[in-house]
């Protein structure tokens, strides 16, 4: 077990290093002069040269990379080209927003998608199943921004013109200041995220559970005289958990790296919004920082998923 974790951590580190090399190299060969981004378009050549020296941009690439890695290992991701703030601070400040959005979303989409999947799988081919399928199709085919705008229009704009406020148009209130306000602000983003992602979970749950319910051990469970409820939830869902956990791990990891569209629609200053701004500003240290953060999330969630796997499936132990 410990050997396994150690191995996986080493492997994760290797992934992160490869990722950093890749990103770094990409920016090194990309067109555009970072010094000009920092100093401004009209800066004279001498000043540009000065900036390059200050940032170490005149050094050979391997040296620049080594310096970056040593600092990054200590939690220092450099400074933003635009406003000279430390990249680490910028990112850390935005993580609570994205984390709140993602984990709230997880709760919503699981409690929406999984039950729909179960109902569909228990009544295949009936109107309940068809309704579930329609939901899945809508969820999968609606672009996130359309759904977000639609929610804003019906739940914020329309009530607002009628003279009362149902939900805020967006923004973020820290959880620790006022939990209620936090949830109120995030309700629409959560709902939007949940509607989009729940469809995937409904489809996954339906497919997996249908398959599991056809297994021999389900017949055994029925032959033991168990109630249908117990057969479905204790025996059926138990075996469906593993693929759900895998999917959940991957989704959480990707979303933690930035929920770009939803953060934009609701004006949330999360990691995704930061990434978008950084790209527009050609602010390389931030872009690299966000990419590395995403990589870190993916590596850790994968490890957690694998450990959960062992906890869930005795055959893996």
């Amino acid at each position: 077990m410990i050997v396994f974790i150690a191995k996986r951590l080493t492997f994760g580190l290797f992934v992160l290093i490869t990722l950093s090399l890749f990103v770094f190299f990409l920016f090194f060969v990309a067109p555009g002069d970072p010094a000009r981004v920092v100093a401004g378009d009209k800066a004279p050549e001498a000043q540009l040269q000065q900036v390059r020296e200050n940032l170490g941009l005149d050094r050979p690439m391997p040296e620049q990379y080594l310096r970056f890695v040593t600092r990054a290992a200590q939690g220092d991701l450099g400074f933003s080209y635009r406003n000279r703030q430390p990249v680490t601070d910028l990112i850390v400040r935005r993580i609570p927003v994205t984390v709140s959005l993602v984990f709230g979303g997880v709760l919503f989409w699981l409690s929406l998608g999984v039950p729909i999947g179960i109902i569909s799988a228990r009544n295949p081919g009936t109107w309940k199943d068809r309704l579930g399928q329609v939901f899945i199709l809508l969820g999968l085919s609606f672009p996130t921004f359309v759904l977000g705008m639609l929610a804003l229009y019906t739940l914020y704009f329309l009530p607002r013109t009628a003279g009362f406020t149902l939900f805020p148009p967006g923004g973020y209130a820290p959880l620790l200041d006022n939990p209620l306000k936090w949830a109120w602000h995030l309700a629409l983003p959560w709902a939007t995220l949940a509607l989009v992602v729940a469809a995937i979970y409904a489809r996954l749950t339906r497919g997996q559970l249908l398959q599991v319910l056809g297994e021999d051990y389900i017949r055994t469970a029925r032959a033991k005289g168990l109630t249908e409820r117990r057969v479905v939830y204790r025996h059926g869902m138990r075996a469906t958990l593993t693929p759900l956990v895998t999917q959940l791990g991957a989704d959480i990891a990707v979303l933690l790296g930035g929920v770009i569209v939803i953060e934009q629609v609701y004006g949330l200053q999360g990691v995704g919004a930061l990434a978008v701004q950084a790209v527009q500003n050609q602010d390389r240290p931030i872009i690299i920082g966000v990419v590395m953060l995403g990589g870190l999330f993916i590596v850790t969630t994968n490890l957690i998923v694998d450990l959960l796997y062992a906890a869930l499936d005795p055959r893996v132990r």
Binding site: R219, R222, G225
Partner: protein, 615 residues
Amino acid sequence: MPLIEARNITIRIPTEDGVVHAARDLSFTVEAGSLFGIAGESGSGKSVLIQAIMGLLPQAEIEGECLFQGQDLLAMTQQELRALRGRHIGMVFQDPLSSLHPYYSIGRQITEVIHTHESVSKDEARRRAADMLEKVGIEDAVARLNDFPHQFSGGMRQRVMIAMALVLQPPLIFADEPTTALDVTVQAQIMDLLKRMSDELGVTIVMITHDLGLLSSVADRVMILYAGHRLEFGPAASVFGTPAHPYTQGLLLSSPGISGPDEALVSIPGRPPSLLATPRGCIFAPRCGQVQEICKTPPPIRRYADGAEALCHFEPEARGPNDDVAIAHTAPAPGTAPLVSIRNLHMTYRIATGFGRKRDLDVIKGIDLDVIRGETLGLVGESGCGKSTLARIVAGLTPATGGQVNFDGTEVSDLTGREWRDLRKRVQIVFQDPYGSLNPRRRVGSIIGAPLKIHGLAQGAALKDEVRRLMGLVGLNPEHYNRFPNEFSGGQRQRIGIARALALKPDLMIFDEPVSALDVSIQAQILNLIKELQAELNLTSLFISHDLTVVRHMCDRIAVMNMGRIIELEEADAIFANPREEYTRTLLAASHVPPRPVEPDHRQLIASEPQQGAM
């Protein structure tokens, strides 16, 4: 009073293709304390019957009545049935690996039955579970309660399954092919256990099986099903001794153990009918060797004085073994040079266990073997003994980790890529599973012709002609050239596999369990075909099987494998007459051959009445 009295059960299952008539007018009685056998080939409706009775097939429409201790199971609500399941009627299924929940410990799975039907404390339930596990022969039962199904061997798992079915001491157990997925020696142990439990606990057992040999050795009464019809019913002694239906007779005669090695097997021609159609006359008429004009009308049930009942117009004539001329396959003369010569062969797999740990698994531990030109060498052993691995190494599909394989004078391990290709041309395999080993998206013609194409031996019209010739050779209709594998039955698919293997005129044919996935009547057809081809084409073959009777029928010499070694290698007859090794004796003792049916002497017909519900 009988424990079960089933009257005129008819089961229909609506499907997308139409209504499947899974059972028609089945009546039978099961006496308390007896072992009742339901026998039939796949598709005969035997599993559907008990599952439908137990309410486990909600989509099935079921008519008639089935009295269990005086109550009609078919009239019960789901709730009433549920209270009965597990408590009064236990069930044991075929494959103990897939029938036990992989994520729960066996202790939890057994105590769950107790908790569902009785309110007892957790400790009490665990104690009872451990007691029952001990009874069925699981050592150290208390500790093993916490183990998961995958930590048990196949036979042990089936014991767990039986313990689970018996833990509330129900008066009745339905056992659906309880030994089919197990090795022969384990089969015998499980059968003994079921018999012992039946005696000790007074449990009545209804056992479903396709294995007539096994059934003939244990059952008190049997029912023979065919396409949902009860063709024969009665005391085991009379059904197996003097079968009153031509189908029963045919089934018994097609078991390879009955015929001598030089006799062709009696096969039942054709294949079972579709359950979608409604037959006009006798359901078995299209395949019956004794069919007459009257068989187009529904047959009566003929009752005999010895208790046997048969759904047939006639009392069947006794039939001997196949009247066909025995196919003379001559074993090679002693001293003939070997085609394949294997020396000190080793095979070690590196397998990953949980969390990336690896360990070595020795599958083949030093084998010396010669396959002599012109002979059929049988390789027999239980699952995991390494027989299939050996075949794959000889065919050049897997490199061995040690030792030499010499094929017709060349050392296989020294071969270059090009020479490998040539070797593959000379060795061909017929695989076990005729469903999984044919690509469902390719036409039969292209499957059979593929080897010729790959090796550049034929193309265009010549290729097509050759494929048609091969199809004819194995008894397929050459006009079905453009069909897909799913349009063929299991037996026909295996013919396709054989044709494909023959395409390159290989020096060595390897048959890897070629008939183990087939029903006995179809199995006889394929075995006959293989024998004919062997004699006609003078094939050298390596014939792998877990079934001793099949190997004996097919082979000149037999090698018995156990745990990666060949423990005994002898002429086929010598091994049967005089086995030297203990393991061989165990194998022999465990394989059941049904008795050769004899002509009934003074069989007295007491009634012949039309079947109810017949048109």
